[in-house]
Symmetry: C3
Subunit: 346 residues, 3 copies
């Protein structure tokens, strides 16, 4: 795609300075921009880059007073950051999510309904008796099992897999290779030491505006539902076990694992590679730092946890600081012991 | 699916009390059940819920003596837990694993044989010269490379991938997105610091009754086989490297990684996010707690390990307990130092 | 596949001893070989196995002087290791990567070009306006989004997913289920505690000779490119976040995660389950041991890091050694305290 500076200015209701006939075909940060790029200046900390940038055009504030000559064309708008975000969203739609219609062959099972404005890519699979809303994008190789329900405007990227009976809200994004509804890891030990699978008959429910990362796995509930509440954002390669609940607007970074039946509150933040044991409850606004392991429920809101096993962040940082010079600590102890005759055993 | 209480009672050879014409369309725990649900009471600890449950019907023991009035219909059987498990298995089959036949388009390579009673979903791929047993379910987007062998009654869920020459026993379950037989991570360092791939020509062998979780990866052996023995249960997002062996009825929880050529014994339990270094042997019945890192072979059976690096559980718990108050330990040491004049250097 | 010993000898330009009409159908290590196997002896440490091996034939050096009778046929060559590697590569090509042509149905979008000598498996998907080089193998269920560019001789295994605009160099290997180009995990916090997605419009670039493991995920850049440089080898289930750069000939083992905008130098080694925080720079030839967590940039080349948080390997090993006997340390401290009267508070 290629646009002239004046075309972009028109979309943004901005005014132009400099050569508005230049062509731009990509977006870039002002400090990295090459000819052909459109950039923006919102934070005046970056103003010096304006006078040296390689960008063909830069979106700036109507108020900006230039202190040096500028080679790039300028597009003046009320709010450069917001204008640039609009362009980013437009660009993302144009390059990734703008396709509509059905590419053949695509499979649609008996009794399934798909709303208007959808895309179903080649080799996508929708099972029987599914209800799929309007403007849903189903990319190639996505698998949607029987009786799934999917809300309006949701995007299911290539090769994501929804087991039967999965429920997904509106405006969710499920990235490539994510698996929703695989069996919970439940096995009954037998007298001979072997295990018998416990049937897992529940499902996975995503509320609205949930984002699921690439190759993340979310097991179905043993009975009932594994639930991800409104607005929660889950990164790549995360594991959520059977009957887990993730609260509203909670953020879970990559490679974190949450064991069975644990409930994470609203507005929590779990950093990368964290592990949470099973059957726990974490209060709202709990924050867990990277690689921590949480083994106890947290009842107080707003706690910061660190370490494996995790405890409160301040104490954990102090203990870690001492850990680093443990050999020195031991040496100091030995010095004292040599200075003190060993006491008699009482 | 909807059944009357009396239909269910007939299947379970039970007797009914209360309104046996009520309809039930799902299974639920007695404490969470809503109208329309069938529940069960096996452990008398839960008996109080019997008198307050919202379930339309509850499976109870023939011997149970009611201590209060019950609004739910009752189905009396000899063994409520076993009866309920039968229903769960029936339900799972009805909703997930009951489909048979071939959905087109499905790919079947030259020289491949598939036994009776199978399901091959749309867009499933079976390469050349495969031997697939009876009652095997191959879901959409599953990939089975050339010359694979798969035993009777095995289920391969959507988008699971078996590289050529993979061998899978009978009654195995391979969840969505799992990869069996990717190249082992073997590279020969070259004089210039680059790496040349070492060809990986072995395969992956699963014995009978093995379960593999969603998006788990199992590399082929460099030569020979990476082997998962009978009844082993592997959770989601687990990594098993080339030439690993996992013993019989061993359980490996999510996000655990086992490095190349390590042998895990029978009846072991590896909790979540554990790491095991390469070329080790873990004796039978070894247990490793979550997030531990095992760097040495374990020769004695029945050992519990914890920590990174892991050592025996009791000592590890004690060391962790002291770790938490390391700053206090250091303060106590400083107090003693101030009370003791520094000795002359000898 | 089955060959006679003399057929193999001819390919390797070797001479035979013993029964050269024997048939061989697999390759094996000399100490594990069964009848029907071809093995090799390069390191004389293994010579005793030559006299006991079950192999039907063994590749040995022209110079080797036998010290006992051998039952296996021998193929004498100049360099047994190199000859065997040639056979391994031949075997791998014959069993895995030898297929050419198009299996239908396969999807090829408008405006896409694919070079000669390629394989496109059934249900593989190539979007619009892609440029794909010569001798590229695209296995079943692989997804290649619009405008991707792929260099000569690259292999994309089953179900790997390349989002639009991904660039892959020559002779790369992308294993099954890997995802390249999923959205970076970027969300702008809103006043009400919810998050608004930040559009992610960058891409992923792999240079030549890069290897990507099964189910590994690499996010696209927010703007610009997430870059994996020449010859880097990435194992299974690794997470590389938006705008990460991985240097030339760097090796990253399984389940490691690298947070956004971090730059890893050339010739680095990151062992399994390591975590690297965001916005860091690791100098060339940095080595990080398994399960470590790196929270600071490393400026000096050639450093070994260990621990979580990581510091230099030698100090970390010492601190870990003291950690193991912390309870003993505390006991020794208590003994000293009992021997010393508590000082007055000053």
């Amino acid at each position: 795609m290629e646009f002239t500076v004046s075309q972009v200015a028109e979309v943004l209701r901005g005014t132009t300075e400099g050569d508005a006939t230049q062509k731009i075909d990509r977006l870039a940060k002002i400090e990295e921009a090459q000819p052909g790029s459109l950039s923006f200046l919102a934070n005046l900390k970056y103003e010096p880059h304006l006078y040296t940038t390689g960008a063909s055009a830069v979106i700036v504030s109507r108020d900006l007073v230039l202190r040096q000559p500028v080679t790039a064309a300028l597009i003046r708008v009320d709010d450069p950051y917001s204008s640039f975000t609009t362009l980013l969203e437009f660009y993302q739609q144009a390059t990734r999510t703008g396709r509509r219609g059905v590419e053949e062959p695509a499979f649609l099972g008996a009794g399934s309904e798909v709303g208007e404005g959808h895309y179903r890519g080649a080799f996508s699979y929708v099972g029987e008796n599914c209800k799929i809303g309007r403007d849903v994008l189903i990319f190639p190789h996505a698998y949607i099992g029987d009786r799934c329900r999917i809300g309006d405007g949701t995007i299911i990227y290539a090769g994501a897999k929804l087991y039967p009976d999965t429920v997904v809200g509106a405006r969710c994004v499920i990235h490539a290779g994510a698996v929703l509804g695989s069996d919970g890891f439940g096995f009954a030990p037998q007298p001979d030491g072997s295990y018998r699978p416990i049937p897992q008959i529940g499902n996975v429910v995503l509320e609205d505006n949930v984002s699921i990362g690439a190759n993340t796995t979310i097991d179905c509930a043993t009975m009932g539902s594994t639930v991800i509440r409104e607005g929660a954002k889950i990164d790549n390669l995360v594991q959520l076990a059977h009957n887990v609940e993730v609260g509203r607007h909670t953020v879970i970074a990559s490679q974190t694992g949450i064991s069975g039946s644990t409930k994470i509150g609203d507005f929590c933040v779990l950093a990368g590679q964290t592990g949470i044991a099973g059957h726990l409850t974490l209060a709202n606004r709990t924050t867990v730092t990277a690689q921590s392991g949480v083994g106890k429920s947290i009842k107080e809101e707003g706690v910061f946890l660190q370490g494996a096993p995790a405890f409160n962040l301040r104490d954990s940082l102090r203990a870690q600081a001492v850990f680093r010079h443990l050999p020195d600590l031991e040496r100091r102890l030995s010095v004292l012991e040599r200075a003190n005759p060993k006491p008699e055993k009482s």
